[in-house]
C-alpha cells in the first residue's frame, strides 16, 4: 500500500509573461509539478528558460498570469513571510557587517529573539564549517566561504523552503563539487525542502531527488525526472552508468547531444 504524501509545493499550469511596453516575453509557459516536503528538487535548463522567474514567483516576489502556485500543506503549513530562505549566485553578504551579523539579518528583520537567534547562527556557522569566522568581515573570506555564510543566513530563521538560484555558479569547479557535498549534508541534517536552480546538468542530477528540465525559446517545462541514485550520494556515483543515463537523458531534452 502506498502512503500518499500531500505535496508541499504544487504548481499547475503556471504561466508568466513579462511585458515591456509593446513587447511581450513569455517567461514560463504552463509549468506543472509537485514537490513533497523534504525533497531537494533541481531545476535545470539554459539561461532565460524561466527557472529564476519560477523561484521569484514561489518567493512571492512576482505575480503570474495564469495557473496556480501553492505552497504548504496541512502537515506542513507555510507562512510566506518567514518560511523562505534564499541563496543567490552572489553571496550578497553585507560588506559592513561581520559574518555573524550577516547570518542574523533575517532574524533581525523578522524580529526573532536575539539570544536564541545568535546561538542558532553560531550553530549554523559551525555546520557550514565557518566556526571561528564569526567576527570576520566578508572581504576576509574566500568565495566559497562567503557562499557558506549565505547558506547559513538562509537557514537562520528556520524556514521550511530554501530557494537557491545557481548558488555555486560563481565558484571554481573543485570548490563547487565540495559545496555540493556540503549542501547534501546540510539538507540531510536540516530536513528542509530545497529548490535548486542550476545550469549544470551533472550538478542537478547529483543533488536532486528529482530534476525538472526546462527548455528555452519558448520557455517551457520539458520533463520531471525522478532520480533514483543510491544514498548517501558520494562523488563516486558520478562515474556510474545510471548517473550517465540520467545526464544523457537531460542533454537529449536540451537538444545538446
Amino acid at each position: 500500500m502506498n502512503a500518499v504524501v500531500e505535496p508541499f509545493i504544487s504548481v499547475s499550469g503556471l504561466r508568466k509573461v513579462y511585458r515591456k511596453r509593446d513587447a511581450e516575453f513569455l517567461a514560463i509557459s504552463d509549468a506543472s509539478f509537485e514537490v513533497a516536503p523534504g525533497e531537494l528538487v533541481s531545476l535545470v535548463g539554459p539561461s532565460g528558460c524561466g527557472k529564476t522567474t519560477l523561484l521569484k514567483v514561489l518567493a512571492g516576489l512576482q505575480g503570474y498570469d495564469a495557473g496556480q502556485a501553492r505552497i504548504g500543506s496541512t502537515t506542513h503549513p507555510f507562512d510566506p513571510s518567514r518560511d523562505i530562505g534564499m541563496v543567490f549566485q552572489q553571496a550578497l553578504l553585507l560588506k559592513w557587517r561581520r559574518v555573524l551579523q550577516n547570518v542574523l539579518l533575517p532574524a533581525e528583520i523578522l524580529g526573532l529573539p536575539f539570544r536564541e537567534s545568535r546561538e542558532r547562527a553560531r550553530d549554523l556557522l559551525a555546520m557550514v564549517g565557518l566556526s571561528g569566522f564569526e567576527d570576520k568581515y566578508p572581504y576576509e573570506l574566500s568565495g566559497g566561504m562567503q557562499q557558506r555564510a549565505a547558506i547559513a543566513r538562509a537557514l537562520v530563521h528556520d524556514p521550511k523552503l530554501i530557494l537557491m538560484d545557481e548558488p555555486f555558479g560563481a565558484l571554481d569547479a573543485l570548490t563547487r563539487e565540495k559545496m555540493n557535498l556540503e549542501l547534501l549534508k546540510i539538507w540531510k541534517q536540516s530536513g528542509k525542502t530545497i529548490l535548486f536552480v542550476t545550469h549544470g546538468i551533472s550538478e542537478a542530477v547529483f543533488l536532486g531527488t528529482r530534476v525538472i528540465v526546462f527548455t528555452a525559446g519558448p520557455a517551457r517545462m520539458a520533463d520531471n525526472i525522478l532520480i533514483e541514485l543510491p544514498e548517501p550520494r558520494t562523488l563516486d556515483i558520478k562515474t556510474t552508468e545510471l548517473f550517465g543515463e540520467y545526464s544523457r537523458r537531460i542533454y537529449h531534452l536540451l537538444g545538446m547531444e
Binding site: K56, A59, I84, M86, L94, K95, W96, I109
Partner: protein, 265 residues
C-alpha cells in the same frame, strides 16, 4: 608569539604608516624651504612674493583681526556645508522612495546646477544683505549638488537581489532603508561629501569677494589695495587650514562609520 605581535600592533603605528607620514611631512617641509630659498636668494620683492618668515610675521598685525575674520569665514564654510549635507542627503532619500519625485525634480535641479553660482552672488546680497548669510548660501549652492548626485547614485546602486532577499522576508520599508539602503549608500555619500567640502570653501570665499564686511576673503581685498602681500598669503593659508580641518573631519568620520572594504575611493 602571535599574542605579542597583536598587543604591540594595538598601540604602535605600523612602520608602513610611519614611512608614509614621514614622506608626506618631508614634501611639505621641502616646499616651504624652496619658497624660503627662492625669496631670500632670488631677490624677489616682498610685494610680489613674501618669504615664509614675513608671512608668519603678518600674524602680529593687530588691524587684521585674524581670529575674528577666520571665525567668520569658518562659520560660513561649515554652515553652508552642513546645509548641503543635510538637504542633499534628505532630497536623495526622497528620490530613493519616489521615482516620480526623482524624475520630476532631477531635470530641474540639473538645469539649476548649470547656473554659474558665482553669478547669483549679487542677488544673494540683495536678498539677504551683507554678512554671513549670503556667503553661507553661496557655500551651500556650490557644494550641494555633488552631494545630492553621489547620494542619489548610492541609493540606486543597491544590489537588486539584496532587496529581493529582504522583501522575501516581508521587511518593512524602514527596515530595508536602515539595514540595506542607507549603509549601502554611505560610501557614495562620503565621496560626495569629500568633493562638497572642497567646494564649500571656494563658495564662501567667492561670496566674500563679491561683497562682505568681514571674513578672510574680505580681508584679502582690503590689504590688496596696499599691496600687503604677506597678509594676503597668510589669509590664503588660513582659508586652506579651515578647509583642511573640514576635509579631515569628513575623512575621520568616514573611517569611523565605514568598513575598509566598503569605502569608495
Amino acid at each position: 608569539m602571535s599574542d605579542a605581535t597583536k598587543s604591540r600592533a594595538a598601540w604602535q603605528i605600523p612602520p608602513e604608516a610611519v614611512r608614509r607620514y614621514t614622506l608626506a611631512i618631508a614634501a611639505h617641509a621641502a616646499l616651504i624651504l624652496i619658497w624660503y630659498l627662492v625669496v631670500t636668494y632670488g631677490r624677489i620683492p616682498t610685494f610680489v612674493l613674501p618669504s615664509p618668515v614675513a608671512t608668519i610675521a603678518s600674524l602680529g598685525g593687530s588691524n587684521y583681526h585674524w581670529i575674528g575674520n577666520t571665525l567668520v569665514t569658518a562659520s560660513e564654510i561649515f554652515g553652508g556645508y552642513f546645509l548641503s549635507v543635510v538637504i542633499g542627503v534628505a532630497i536623495a532619500i526622497l528620490f530613493s522612495w519616489s521615482r516620480t519625485a526623482e524624475e520630476t525634480a532631477m531635470p530641474l535641479l540639473v538645469t539649476l546646477n548649470m547656473i554659474p553660482k558665482v553669478a547669483l552672488g549679487p542677488l544673494f546680497i540683495v536678498w539677504l544683505s551683507y554678512g554671513i548669510m549670503p556667503n553661507t548660501i553661496m557655500a551651500f549652492a556650490i557644494s550641494f549638488f555633488p552631494i545630492l548626485l553621489n547620494t542619489t547614485r548610492g541609493f540606486r546602486e543597491v544590489e537588486p537581489e539584496l532587496l529581493e532577499l529582504v522583501r522575501s522576508l516581508h521587511s518593512s520599508k524602514w527596515q530595508t532603508f536602515v539595514k540595506i539602503q542607507l549603509p549601502s549608500a554611505l560610501p557614495y555619500i562620503f565621496s560626495g561629501m569629500k568633493v562638497g567640502a572642497i567646494l564649500a570653501v571656494a563658495g564662501a570665499i567667492v561670496g566674500e569677494f563679491l561683497g562682505s564686511a568681514r571674513g578672510l576673503g574680505y580681508l584679502m581685498l582690503q590689504v590688496q589695495v596696499t599691496l600687503d602681500t604677506p597678509a594676503m598669503f597668510m589669509a590664503v593659508i588660513l582659508i586652506t587650514l579651515v578647509g583642511v580641518v573640514l576635509y579631515g573631519a569628513v575623512l575621520g568620520l568616514e573611517r569611523l562609520v565605514i568598513v575598509r572594504d566598503a569605502r569608495v575611493n
